[in-house]
């Protein structure tokens, strides 16, 4: 925590514990019971089967950037219930609960920092915040990220993990797809590197906009990546989906992504790519 120049996670301090109490953790993939410290030391990856645990934005920043280099941007943009949306709960209640739980105002943390001393702008989704859904705040922060990158000619890296557009903001969330894509259209004219890292899971409107418009698209091993969620597809075609469908390896095979990179090697891969894309 001390390495944050600006402590973005001070709200809801008790929530910053990134893993539930207990010394042991069960792997979601191989079901092995593992010593938690061992998983942590291994960049939140199962030492037995290489399963990549879902991690918080904070933890992602910690393991990706040079220590102490992160400075948050636009951390004070908050969601608004513009539609007066209410399902079984009010949207405002859902926002409140998510903010409490994640210690963030919305589902993305943006800012800048360095990787191997190379400066970059970074956006990291927080999946625990309403499924990492993209509403007006996420769209706004991503648009600003690219606009800043244009002004300062700094590369952009975004780690996505999202269920897609945020339903509670209705059409306002849908149009964020256009807004973020339009921002990338502009940066493309300037040859500023943008690298997208798709992590488990990335689906819907996020996959169908900025997340797949990068110069280089990376995925973490076995990450679920798609347009429609597997359940929706199964309901549509009324049959079970084949094993491995919509996983990172499947996407690589079908030509949708450039590479699969293990978490341990992510930092160095990003540094190398940025260096190769920069004059």
């Amino acid at each position: 925590m001390i390495w944050f120049k600006k402590d973005i996670f001070s709200r809801g301090k008790e929530k910053t514990v990134r893993v539930p109490q207990g010394l042991w953790v069960k792997c979601n993939h191989c079901n092995e019971i593992i010593y938690r410290k061992e998983v942590e030391r291994n960049s939140e990856v199962c030492p037995k089967c290489n399963y990549h645990f879902r991690i918080s934005a904070r933890r992602r920043i910690e393991i990706t950037l040079d220590e102490g280099s992160f400075v948050e941007h636009d951390g004070n943009i908050s969601p608004v219930d513009a539609l007066g949306f209410r399902d079984m709960k009010r949207y405002t209640e859902r926002i409140g609960a998510a903010q409490q739980k994640a210690g963030l105002k919305d589902a993305i943390v943006c800012g800048e920092g360095t990787i191997e001393d190379r400066r970059l702008l970074l956006g990291v989704f927080e999946f625990s915040f309403m499924g990492g859904s993209m509403g007006s705040v996420v769209g706004e922060k991503i648009a600003r990220l690219f606009e800043r990158a244009m002004e300062e000619r700094v590369p952009v890296v975004i780690f996505a993990s999202s269920g897609g557009a945020r339903m509670q903001e209705g059409i306002l969330s849908l149009v964020q797809m256009a807004k973020t894509s339009a921002a990338i259209e502009r940066i493309r004219r300037k040859a500023i590197p943008y690298i997208s890292v798709l992590t488990d899971p990335t689906t819907g409107g996020v996959t169908a906009s900025f997340a797949t418009l990068a110069d280089v698209i990376i995925a973490e091993p076995r990450a679920l990546i798609g347009f429609a969620g597997p359940r929706v597809i199964e309901e549509t075609i009324r049959q079970k989906l084949p094993e491995g469908f919509q996983r990172a390896e499947y996407l690589l095979e079908h030509g949708m992504i450039d590479m699969i990179v293990e978490r341990k090697k992510m930092r160095h891969t990003l540094a190398k790519l940025i260096e190769l894309l920069t004059d």
Binding site: G135, M167, E185, F227
Partner: protein, 320 residues
């Protein structure tokens, strides 16, 4: 126009129409009968006006999906002086769920693209219910590139439940196909006018909707998710679609207030499906006026205006 699939709330109208029909054919036309028919017709028109002036969001959804509602090719036939359909994405196949081509509207040469639904069972299947696969979006992009090369304004008609959610679509990159269109449209130096004519279903609709002017027919819907899908996720009950429809604010007037839609295009009394010609006339007028508004702008101004338009969309607050 005869239509069999009358929505529940249109049933009273249907009953009067049946009576009128009976009077017309079962008796000889005395002055009394003629008067009675006129009376019933007036009653019917009043009723239609009544019903359609206070449709609920769910009822609007049903009208937007009305099986007799005019589709893209219907409007193309009625709005344009000329239309030469072009096919294929040059990569995989021709997707019948999206149609497009070169067209002329009041002498002005344009490129037109739209989702296409099918009218009967066979055609619905052929058009995949208006749900495009990646090749459909890539065809649309190819046509937009053509428009860019020849400096032709682009008109798009939006009418889809959404992009196809199936194995083939994923396999061929549905997400990327949509994303690439969003990006490409954002950079177009030619004016783009989009009209939501029925269902504007999520990313599959937006993928041809990044426009300088977004028009929307009065009884159309445009939404991030279908009310059924929304209900299934948030209410854990698909039958709560009526509730979801109201919460999502999918109607033209509401979207105009939210700054998403620039102009609501009025439909004939009782909806576009009751009078194709009148609906097309109304749409044509709006399209021409929109094109005219944009005609004086340079490519850079067009691009910049479109960027500003979408950049502003969204509601959030900043500060501690």
């Amino acid at each position: 126009m005869q239509h069999k699939n009358i929505r529940e709330f249109e049933r009273p109208v249907e009953e009067i129409e049946k009576k009128i029909e009976e009077l017309r054919f079962s008796r000889e036309m005395t002055p009394d009968t003629a008067r009675e028919i006129r009376r019933l017709e007036e009653k019917r028109d009043r009723l239609i006006k009544d019903i359609y002036s206070s449709l609920t969001p769910w009822q609007i959804t049903l009208v937007a999906r009305h099986p007799a509602r005019p589709y893209t090719l219907d409007y193309i036939g009625l709005v344009f002086d000329e239309f030469e359909e072009l096919h294929g994405d040059r990569l995989y196949r021709d997707d019948p769920a999206i149609v497009g081509g070169l067209a002329r509207i009041e002498g002005r040469k344009v490129v037109v693209i739209g989702h296409q639904k099918g009218r009967n069972t066979k055609e619905r299947f052929y058009r995949n219910y208006g749900m495009p696969h990646p090749e459909g979006y890539r065809k649309a992009k190819r046509l937009m590139e053509l428009a860019q090369r020849f400096s032709r304004p682009i008109i798009t008609f939006i009418d889809t439940p959404g992009a196809a959610p199936d194995i083939e679509a994923e396999e061929r990159g549905q997400a990327v196909a949509i994303a690439e269109n969003l990006l490409y449209m954002a950079g177009l130096g030619v004016p783009v006018v989009s009209a939501v004519i029925g269902e504007g279903g999520s990313g599959g609709a937006l993928a041809i909707g990044v426009a300088n002017r977004v028009l929307m027919l009065e009884y159309s819907i445009y939404s991030v998710i279908s009310p059924e899908g929304c209900a299934a996720i948030l209410w854990k009950d698909g039958s709560k679609a009526e509730l979801a429809a109201a919460q999502l604010r999918m109607g033209a007037r509401e979207l105009e207030k939210l700054g998403i839609v620039d102009r609501v295009v009025e439909e004939p009394p009782g909806g576009a499906h009751r009078n194709y010609e009148l609906a097309a006339k109304s749409l044509k007028k709006a399209l021409l006026e929109s094109l005219e508004e944009l005609s004086a702008l340079t490519p850079d101004e067009i691009r910049e205006a479109r960027y500003r338009k979408f950049r502003r969309m969204g509601v959030s607050t900043e500060g501690d």
